[in-house]
Symmetry: none
């Protein structure tokens, strides 16, 4: 409705200008360009107008979520009084080198090779080498399984945070 009206108004305006200034042939492109630009903007405006409600809704929804006292709804966790145990014997059996162990500790935090490389000031190549050796020593074929296994074997350093 509004849109059609605006279009009509614009055409009318153009016609009026035409009468007033007797448009030359070579200025057609200019007008077309102006029209294109103007209506592109109109389109963007309209679209964003429609989109905004959607965005708002989402935000609102989530904000409501935020107000819910999350902690209370979580059943009391029987806190691991038992600090994570580092099974030194299991670790020694694996024969991990110092560096490999460091990498492992980063690995179980869920970090990517790139992140590990950054943390330990290594190149990604080196991290890959270490990780590959780790996977072999742990007898797995993916970092996810390696994390599992490391936890099962309790060879995660006491200080390491476990989410």
């Amino acid at each position: 409705m509004l849109y059609g009206l605006m279009l009509a108004a614009f055409v009318f305006l153009l016609k009026w200008l035409q009468w007033k200034y007797l448009i030359a042939d070579h200025s057609v492109e200019f007008y077309v360009g102006a029209v294109a630009l103007l209506f592109t903007l109109l389109g963007i405006w309209g679209a964003s107008k429609l989109m905004r409600t959607q965005t708002r809704e989402i935000v609102k929804e989530v904000v409501i979520v935020k107000e819910v006292p999350v902690v209370k709804e979580v059943p009391p966790l029987r806190d691991g009084e038992s600090a994570p145990v580092f099974d030194k014997a299991a670790w020694e059996k694996l024969g991990l080198t110092a560096r490999e162990n460091e990498v492992l500790q980063q690995l179980v935090k869920g970090l990517s090779n790139a992140e590990i490389a950054a943390n330990l000031f290594l190149s990604i190549s080196t991290v890959k080498t270490h990780v590959s050796n780790l996977l072999f020593k742990l007898n797995v074929n993916s970092r996810v399984k390696a994390i599992e296994k490391a936890r099962a074997l309790r060879i995660i350093e006491p200080g390491a945070a476990i989410p």
Copy 2:
């Protein structure tokens, strides 16, 4: 870039038509209307294209706000042996669909996409779709981090084995 190119191409096309059909004065309105319509659509298209990412990002941001307190205030899960608690409230807030949840349960077991596909009788494509959507909803960018987050949020089914 693309936009400017399209505009140029359109003007050129118009010029060409002008030479070919020797546009009469009264048809200018028609062309202007066509241009207006076309570029309005272009504007809408472009805006919606851009808006989508923006919407995504907004959701992302707010989700972070929502989830940070969860991670912080819930005592870290120390050891595997304590029975995992399924926080239904947390799960519902994520808005995971039934299928996505099933995939998540497989995911946290450390299974690969192929293994999940085999277990759920799906194609790898479908699993990828679900996993991708899961990662988005959990606001992470890798399956490893998704596993972490799922544990932190305690949305792992009680039956699930944790190594």
